[in-house]
Symmetry: C2
Subunit: 217 residues, 2 copies
Amino acid sequence: MSNISNNIPEKTIERLSEYRRTLIRCHKQGIKHIFSHVLAGMHGITAVQVRRDLMLIGFSSDTKKGYDVDVLIEFISAILDSPSAMNIGVIGMGHLGQAITKYFNGKGLKLRIVASFDVDADKVGTTIDDIPCFDMADFESAVIDHDINIVILSCPTRVAESMVVPIVNAGIKGVLNFTSKPLNFPLGIVVENYDITTLLEKVAYFVKEGESGDAAE
Amino acid sequence: MSNISNNIPEKTIERLSEYRRTLIRCHKQGIKHIFSHVLAGMHGITAVQVRRDLMLIGFSSDTKKGYDVDVLIEFISAILDSPSAMNIGVIGMGHLGQAITKYFNGKGLKLRIVASFDVDADKVGTTIDDIPCFDMADFESAVIDHDINIVILSCPTRVAESMVVPIVNAGIKGVLNFTSKPLNFPLGIVVENYDITTLLEKVAYFVKEGESGDAAE
């Protein structure tokens, strides 16, 4: 993440997103209250961390029964969610783009995928998972027509860099980049570069370290 | 990430993985040397951060021409990679599982997807993207046969929790969980819970904050 400074740390924002999903599952199961150490345990972190995160956003209504699940969901939502819906476009409807679209569709999030873009003539003009697919050549006009604020970049890595200029020109405010090429954007555009190879290499590294630790014991 | 403590911070491991991919691209372009501020700029971070990360792994051969690209690739690889190959299984061959498999296949990584698992009779027994798909009922024996160390969990969220016991029983050492349900595993198993909703909600949050910042100016 880059370009925007803020009072709430990035990692806290990530955890708030995770807490909310857990709390929504609790709500669906009929759970009305939850203790910080229970919420912490569900995320493999400490209760101190949970309490610190909630203190940072000004939530302090911890009772003898724990946090009120519904109140906490609403409180976190007021922090994370925009008052108006954010519309999202997916650039590149290969396997990853289609997986992401299917993943978010019907999740009932405030974030809605409203359009997708590709250069493949077999995809352009069709509807994939209920989302219209436009020609990348029409990107700028489709962004205006559909009031798109954020794009997910799931195109092949070799063309990732060529997407920067159209994204800037179209007035996009946030980019979630899933290609293997980290991209830089002008100040004012939020970028999250995420190559899933990083996650897998991280897991593999700590597995390796764990194994060598075992051997040393 | 949980369960394994280590001297090199998680975030440094993530960045080393990213540096290496950038350096491999540089190598392919015929670039022989790179300055820390150039490498930093390609990742949207400071040169100080790059130098600190490389100092942490004991790399200090900065010359007047910058880092030697090939030497640095080898140095990072010695840190990240296991001496023997790590074999990976993908649990759940829906859109996400297939996207991930296609993504990693042919990337030439030390990490190799060698098997996939599903419960769908149309998939079991077939080969998807050159990877054999086994019945989840045969998970334990397939893990032994294919010497699988790490699994990627891309099954539907509603069945994620039911995968914990088979994963533990099969002796898996690392789990990259892409479902929306954070999972806990016994000590000694490395887990990275990653719901891509978190990334998208983070980008949306900083876009929102950036916009309200603009309004306040």
